[in-house]
Amino acid sequence: MAEPAQRPSVTKSPTGIEGFDHISLGGVPTGRTTLVSGSAGSAKTIFAAQFLAEGIRQYDQAGVFVTFEESAADIRANVSSLGWDVADWEAAGKWAFVDAAPQPGDEVVVSGAFDLGALVVRVEAAVRRTGAARVAIDSLGAVFSRFENEVIVRAELFRLASALKGMGVTSVMTAERTSEYGEISRHGVEEFVTDNVVILRNVLEGEKRRRTVEVLKFRGTIHQKGEYPFTIMPDQGIVVIPLSAIELDQRSSYTRISSGNAELDAMCGGGFFRDSVILVSGATGCGKTLTSTEFIGGGVDNGERSLLMAFEESRDQLSRNASGWGRDFDRYEREGLLKVVALYPESAGLEDHLIRIKREIDSFKPNRVAVDSLSALERVSSIKGFREFVISLTSFIKHQEIAGLFTATTNSLMGGESVTETHISTITDAIILLRYVELFGEMKRGLTVLKMRGSAHDKEIRAFTIDGTGMHIGAAFRNVTGILAGHPRHVPSAEIERLDQLFRPEGPRGGD
């Protein structure tokens, strides 16, 4: 995948680990050893095991797992939670263990010179027996702590790496790091074992654990630089989120779809674009959930399917809200035109939510996706993590060529902007602001289309009301200024007319 024509010396083998092959531009170097280094709990063993599991599942390649730390039985049990039946693969001759873990109660006495010849012989025998194309070795640190003589261990690991190369297998070795941003590995193994280094991190960031993977070097071939977040899914293992490696190659559609509100469609120049992402921002109770409900309703009216990812209210609450606006969620769900997934933001990390949303989109195949609210997810992440999440989600939705509508809550009732808005406004195609407007001792609601990429749109701030049939957008606030800033101020009509005559020869539209 990574320009094999230009660099014939190093080809890559896809690992099959979701997202990793994307950031490594094709996988790990074929026929070579890649060092996977990480601190305690950074998922090194899972990476190593998944390298073999995906080889079996996706590429029909057998694998040999050499374990120095945990026993084969422990590894079988640990990875079964990821949905991998290692015993089954062993029976089928697709997976073989070389169990080099210490035996409990085993006393070892060292008397004189030794080498690790038996280990090399066992690995070679296992590779021959299974016809393995992949070997995983976990972990080098355990070998060093086992034998006092580092010089011998280094020399022998080099011999093992050479033997693996000689057999033409693609291998992954794990090693320990003492700190997240220090030397590559504890025993300095990388420089003699391998030219290829991948680093796994598990960093505490603003009270949240954040896992990342970085391809540090692949000698003689290219890869994406920097850290990419990943998560561990219960039935899949490691899933890397490629983020900036995502190509901006999605097509732009000029097909319009209804927002579910005819007046809003008119303001947007005829509706939203088919594959656009719309951000609806406003204070609490201002009509965001209504906007997403109408967005879903607009899809249903057209026979389209909608997915609603709800992070603030339960399914029942949402259904009750919708019925108050004349939209029957229960019926939509029965007809298969809607799926409501209500989750607590705190129930998982952002990476997990992202993958959950992707899964729901993949399985339900909606035409529209509404996330209410996106800002509820801010709570469970750092700002950087949140931004990455939104970029990734937006990109995914656009690739599916479906419409996405996200809501964001502003923290002040009047005016103001949300963190969500600040961080994602450049990513979204359209922004709709909902605002409270205080006028003559009365709270009114206002709506404006702030941005609509690729289309003309109404720039006025219009008043709207909500009743049992939904949202009704009326005339513009003609004689008020400062709404968006949160300081509405009444402007005398005479002044407006004077300005209108200056700038709009066709005359004023209806006032409020």
Binding site: E107, V109, V110, G112
Partner: protein, 100 residues
Amino acid sequence: MGKYLLKLYITGRTPQGNRAIANLQRICQAELDGQYEMEVIDVIEDPQAAEDARIIATPTLIKALPPPLRRIIGDLSNKEKVLIGLDLSSPGDEEGHRRG
């Protein structure tokens, strides 16, 4: 004292392996008075034997009998350590023991 069952695992007929065999024979003849059985296993010829006994380093001497089972790795050039491994040294000298 019961009969000793000793298994010596080597990787091919290397000088290191041959040295281990010679050292072991010398120690056994001196210390075990014929009360032993010694088996040399070349893991290149029988990788499964290494797999079954979970041998990593060679040479490895396994004292299979009498219990407890002990592993001694190296060319057995340090006689004191070998005697510790075979439980033939005076008690209290635990210096050579490491968990593995």
